[in-house]
């Protein structure tokens, strides 16, 4: 059983100007796992990292490290390190001195510094670059040096604030693999911040989806993708078709004038709900065989699939991913199975949502 290394308990953060950036944040980080804070710009991701790293004081609530409260411990005494969004590599030092900084300030011995800096640089595959100046490195290389500098003190937890956002798409993909591999090799906890949902889904053991200073949902990438708690999460994580409906009874949902069998339960009879269907779960057939009839509006070729935009009679937009092209303005049918629908209640809290899922999901 793995051990909790960082815990936030009912953390609130109110800035001096009265703005509440964090509202009742609680979560636990286990040793050796990869966590991602995912949310739109300004939702409070950096504020969470800063309150763990010690750069900002939380207004109320507890920050625990290894079971001990660290609210009042200064940043330099906290045994975790940060990779900054702008890397913050010291321009007056070369690569070696940057990486060695954390050891030098702890008065490590010369030969120990040599070996540990070398090891850290090897971890990020830049051992030959020790004597380079920071200005002589590419963006991707600077990013790796920032990681090497942060892991040289062998922290138990590494905080990474959008470390890949400054890189181009190709390099970004490569670094995603490398970061994930590095985390597994080091065996330490990563708390990674991003506003890119694909990045979060690809890298994480667990994702915390945030909006406006709150954590809306925690879960594995698959859970969050397949069973989003509400409209915001469904929309933010991947593409989705969301329509309003009514929960007629357990396992029976009605929308667009038809009743369908579904795999969700635990709601009040006739409760208004939202129904999510992912574009890749919709299958195009003939109008007669389809559960819904839609008119194809436009289609885009995306390489491995066609992205088809269609409208039903009520004017709802439907996004369909299909391996075959369709014809513009054609009326086609759409089918989907009971498991392809996911039903969301309005204003359901995460605790109630998880409880309801557990009640019928085994």
């Amino acid at each position: 059983m793995s051990k909790t290394i960082v815990e936030l308990k009912n953390v609130y953060k109110k800035y001096d100007d009265g703005f509440t950036a964090l509202k009742n944040i609680s979560f636990k980080l286990q040793e050796g796992e990869f966590y991602t804070l995912l949310g739109p710009s300004g939702c409070g991701k950096t504020t969470i990292l800063q309150s763990i790293a010690g750069f900002t004081e939380v207004t109320s609530g507890q920050v625990l490290f290894d079971g001990k409260k660290i609210n009042d411990i200064p940043a330099n005494k906290r045994q975790l390190n940060t990779v900054f969004q702008d890397y913050a590599l010291f321009p007056n030092m070369n690569v070696f001195d940057n990486v060695a900084f954390g050891l030098v300030v702890h008065n490590a011995k010369k030969d120990e510094i040599q070996t540990r800096v070398h090891d850290a640089l090897k971890m990020v595959q830049l051992e030959q670059y020790a004597n380079r100046e920071i200005s002589e490195l590419s963006g991707g290389q600077q990013q790796r040096i920032a990681i090497a500098r942060a892991i040289v003190n062998r922290p138990k937890v590494l905080l990474l604030d959008e470390p890949l956002s400054a890189l181009d798409a190709k390099l970004r993909k490569d670094m995603q693999y490398e970061l994930r591999e590095l985390q597994q090799n080091l065996g330490i906890t990563f708390l990674f911040v991003t506003h890119d949902q694909e990045e979060a889904l690809a890298m994480s053991d667990e994702i915390f989806v945030m909006n406006k200073g709150e954590i809306l949902q925690k879960g594995s990438p698959v859970d969050i993708y397949d069973e989003p708690i509400n409209h915001f999460v469904a929309d933010f994580i991947g593409e989705s078709n969301i329509v309003q409906g009514k929960m007629v009874a357990d396992y029976q949902v009605a929308f667009l004038g038809h009743q369908f069998e579904c795999s969700d339960a635990g709601m009040r009879p006739n409760e208004p709900v939202e129904v999510v269907i992912r574009p890749e779960d919709l299958v195009i057939t003939t109008p007669e065989k389809g559960k819904l009839q839609v008119k194809v509006d436009t289609q885009l070729f995306r390489g491995d699939y066609y992205e088809i935009l269609a409208y039903d009679k009520a004017g709802n937009e439907w996004l369909i991913h299909s391996t075959n092209a369709s014809t513009d303005d054609a009326i086609v049918g759409l089918t989907f199975g009971p498991d392809d629908m996911h039903i969301m209640r309005y204003n359901e809290t995460e605790a109630k949502f998880n409880h309801r899922l557990e009640s019928y999901e085994d």
């Binding site: 750069f55 940043a75 940060t82 010291f90 007056n92 070369n94 030098v104 300030v105 500098r149």
Partner: protein, 269 residues
């Protein structure tokens, strides 16, 4: 067409430079080769580098300028550091700069009022039962007042380089385990070195040739190269010798510039 326009644009600057920078410097060089009777000679330089008077004077000037610059740095750096952390820091720095708008002579007289035998400082000493000090016309008071006058010129470049440091460098340093003191000595001071260097450039050279202060506060006991230049041009009318000292000052300025401009060398080959 375009080139002509450009030339037109630059003409005023070139003229300005020629008239007020190049011509005076050339004239100083020219005069330094003539003796008091307008005969061409190298005797001025010979005298400067062989007579003990001029060489001690030069050594004295360098020593005073060094001390003035040193005290200016020692006072300005902590002050700039504190001000850069204040909420209305731009207002505070303006207050520090404000005395430069007051005429130097007025400031000197103000200090005479403070430091003289019956001045405010001695009155305070008396109030606390301390013996009256003889402060005016001492080396110490000269260096103190000169450093005070130079502080705004030292503090401004340091302050600017301090406010240029992104907060994330300081956070990174703290995050890696550095104490506040280690952050200051290993990150902040090295990163503000360019500011300190330009402060030195602005303060050291004028300090070599302060003449009014050395008279009014130093009481003519402090003889610097500046006093000598003034003496030669206004009293002995030996413009040649005065210019020679001027040339020495210009060359030492170039040397200070070169010394403080050295690019950081690579350590660890």
């Amino acid at each position: 067409m375009k080139k002509n326009f450009r030339g037109l644009f630059f003409t005023p600057y070139v003229l300005w430079l020629a008239m007020f920078v190049i011509a005076p410097v050339a004239l100083i060089f020219y005069y330094s080769f003539f003796d008091i009777h307008h005969n061409f000679t190298l005797a001025n330089y010979q005298e400067f580098f062989t007579s003990g008077t001029y060489l001690t004077m030069t050594a004295n000037s360098v020593l005073y300028a060094f001390l003035i610059t040193l005290f200016a740095i020692l006072i300005s750096y902590p002050m700039a550091l504190v001000i850069s952390k204040l909420k209305h820091r731009d207002l505070w720095i303006l207050l520090v700069i404000l005395p430069t708008w007051i005429n130097l002579l007025l400031k000197a007289y103000a200090f005479i009022g403070l430091l003289s035998h019956d001045g405010l400082v001695n009155e305070l000493f008396q109030f606390f039962g301390l013996p009256i000090q003889h402060m005016l016309f001492t080396d110490a008071s000269f260096i103190l007042v000169a450093a005070y006058i130079q502080i705004p010129f030292m503090i401004l470049p340091i302050y600017n380089s301090l406010t240029d440091i992104s907060n994330s460098y300081i956070r990174a340093s703290r995050d890696l385990g550095a104490t506040k003191w280690q952050t200051l000595t290993k990150v902040i001071i090295p990163m503000t070195l360019p500011g300190i260097k330009s402060g030195i450039q602005i303060v050291f050279i004028p300090s070599l040739s302060l003449f009014m202060l050395s008279r009014l506060i130093g009481g003519n006991k402090v003889i610097t190269l500046g006093t000598a230049v003034e003496e030669h041009f206004l009293t002995t009318m030996n413009w040649g010798m005065g210019s020679t000292i001027g040339v020495v000052l210009i060359i030492s300025m170039v040397i200070v510039m070169l010394l403080t401009n050295t690019k950081r060398k690579r350590r660890r080959a």
